[in-house]
């Protein structure tokens, strides 16, 4: 029996207000627990695709369903609850540099509290312990009280992952999470994502530039070109030549 997909795109189009086509007629189904890698050149629409899933970007037409529910009409509280179950990791880490690691990690939990409690910092003891456990999972528990900007890039990205874990997400979106990291820290970050995918059955969607990385970690690879889905294969059927083509054909066109 085929399980219902956790995310589904149906005829999704996105046109920016300046006329640029962001996404063009995307049809895509992502099953629960998949490690999906999105490849394509800069400007191909990878970031846009990712951000439509948690409504950081609005689509122009079509329908996106998460857990079988169309998300386009969500507003206010419903939208915040949707975002709560979708963690996001960014190329630039997006930590608050001047705050402690603990505060950065706890900020991933704020959507479980009413606003006034977050302002007073009234986190429960259980959540503070959860913050420590999240940091332990990314091997950074000893940095709890360090200021975020005193950490290296790879450490900052792992703090960002710990922050996301506080949401207890069903889905993690990672937008070029390793683009500004060296090979060693890249491996640490990608391994962490893989562990979360396998241990917690979190659906992980990662935008990557690197073909070797994509082949190493993905269950399935999709390719975007000028906003269109041009490639979609499970990892067992992916060949090096296919992937090179995604990059080369467009480079020639451009």
């Amino acid at each position: 029996m085929v399980e219902a997909p956790i995310i589904s795109f149906k005829n999704v189009n996105k046109i920016y207000s300046n006329g640029t086509v962001g996404l063009k007629d995307i049809n895509l189904e992502i099953p629960q627990g998949q490690f999906l890698v999105v490849v394509g050149l800069s400007g191909a629409g990878k970031s846009t695709l990712l951000r439509t899933i948690n409504r950081m970007h609005e689509i122009t037409s079509g329908e996106i369903k998460i857990d079988g529910e169309p998300i386009q009409t969500y507003k206010g509280q419903a939208l915040r609850l949707l975002r709560r179950k979708i963690g996001m990791i960014f190329q630039g880490f997006n930590l608050v540099n001047r705050s402690s690691v603990e505060r950065n990690v706890l900020s991933g939990r704020v959507s479980y509290y009413p606003t006034w409690k977050t302002l007073c910092g009234l986190f429960t003891q259980a959540d503070r312990e959860m913050a420590v456990r999240s940091l332990q999972r990314v091997n950074l528990a000893d940095k709890l009280y360090t200021r975020a900007d005193e950490l290296s890039g790879g450490q900052q990205q792992r703090v960002a992952i710990a922050r996301t874990l506080m949401q207890e997400p069903k889905i993690i979106l990672a937008d070029e999470p390793v683009a500004s990291l060296d090979p060693l820290t890249t491996k640490a970050v990608m391994d962490t994502l893989q562990r979360l995918n396998r241990e917690d059955n979190i659906t992980v969607i990662v935008n990557l530039h690197s073909v070797p990385l994509a082949r190493q970690y993905a269950d399935r690879i999709i390719g975007l070109q000028a906003g269109q889905l041009v490639y979609d294969r499970p990892i067992s059927e992916v060949t090096e030549a296919d992937l090179n083509e995604i990059y080369v054909t467009e480079a020639v066109q451009a």
Binding site: G87, F90, G92, N94, S99, S107, V110, S111, T118
Partner: protein, 264 residues
């Protein structure tokens, strides 16, 4: 091999038309303003002697007088601290509402900014005159004046700071599902706090100086003594007051520099 095609600059770019036009306009503005207002630059130099004369008379500070002005000077500092704190506290929400990267509703932002512009338009001397009439002679009028004056100034400085922050953490907090207020608390405030402190101290320094002038209108503080010494032509006392104020400003400046280094 062919020569690679390079886009050509338009003649406007090539001859720096914009820069030249702007410079020309500025020069015309300067010259016509000095003509029309009848400012006589020559007079500045021909009457310079009188200015020197004043300086000479101020050059024998009456150090005994320092004992007299300690209390009013303290009062001035207290007024400035109170006024700046009240003004800055009210400025924070208004600064947030005026920042274009936080409030996307143009109408709301425009309305807030219009209100702030209005507040800044009111000169502090006018405010002092009004509040002396309302609250009577004394430091209450001074504090209210300084509060409103700092509110107008600080809110502008604050929202300009907010507009320069890194938007990344805001994006992250949005993706977490945080409410707008929580986002501001967690992602905006930590980024601007040290600049807020630095602008707060800058305003405090301005207020210490401004309150010396406000004293003229009966709004309390050292200004009352400044006015008295000037109207009595007792320049040796004036000199002491100016030097004492300078000392206070220097101290605030030092504290401000130190805090900025520590907080950065």
């Amino acid at each position: 091999m062919s020569i690679p095609k390079v886009p050509r600059r338009s003649w406007i770019q090539r001859w720096h038309v914009k820069g030249i036009v702007v410079t020309g306009l500025l020069l015309i503005l300067l010259v016509t303003s000095s003509r029309m207002t009848g400012v006589d630059v020559g007079m500045f130099f021909s009457n310079f002697g009188q200015f020197l004369n004043l300086l000479v008379r101020m050059s024998h500070p009456d150090w005994q007088y320092a004992n007299v002005i300690v209390r009013p000077l303290l009062e001035t500092i207290q007024m400035a601290i109170l006024g700046t704190t009240i003004g800055a506290a009210f400025a924070v929400p208004f600064a947030v509402l005026s920042a274009s990267n936080l409030i996307h509703n143009r109408f709301l932002r425009g309305l807030t900014r219009l209100f702030l512009d209005l507040v800044r338009t009111l000169p502090d001397l006018l405010l002092a005159a009004i509040f002396v009439a309302v609250f009577g002679i004394g430091s209450t009028a001074g504090v209210v004046t300084l509060a409103i004056f700092s509110f107008g100034m600080v809110s502008k400085l604050f929202y300009e700071v907010i507009e320069t922050i890194d938007m990344g953490p805001l994006e992250a907090l949005t993706s977490v599902g945080a409410s707008k207020v929580t986002i501001i608390w967690y992602a905006v405030l930590p980024q601007i706090l040290n600049q807020f402190v630095s602008y707060f101290l800058y305003t405090l320094e301005i207020n210490v100086r401004a309150s010396t002038v406000l004293g003229y209108l009966g709004a309390g503080g050292i200004g009352v003594f400044l006015q008295r010494s000037l109207s009595e032509f007792n320049y040796s006392q004036t000199a002491v007051i100016i030097l004492a104020t300078l000392a206070v400003v220097l101290v605030i400046d030092g504290v401000s520099n130190h805090l900025r280094r520590v907080l950065l």
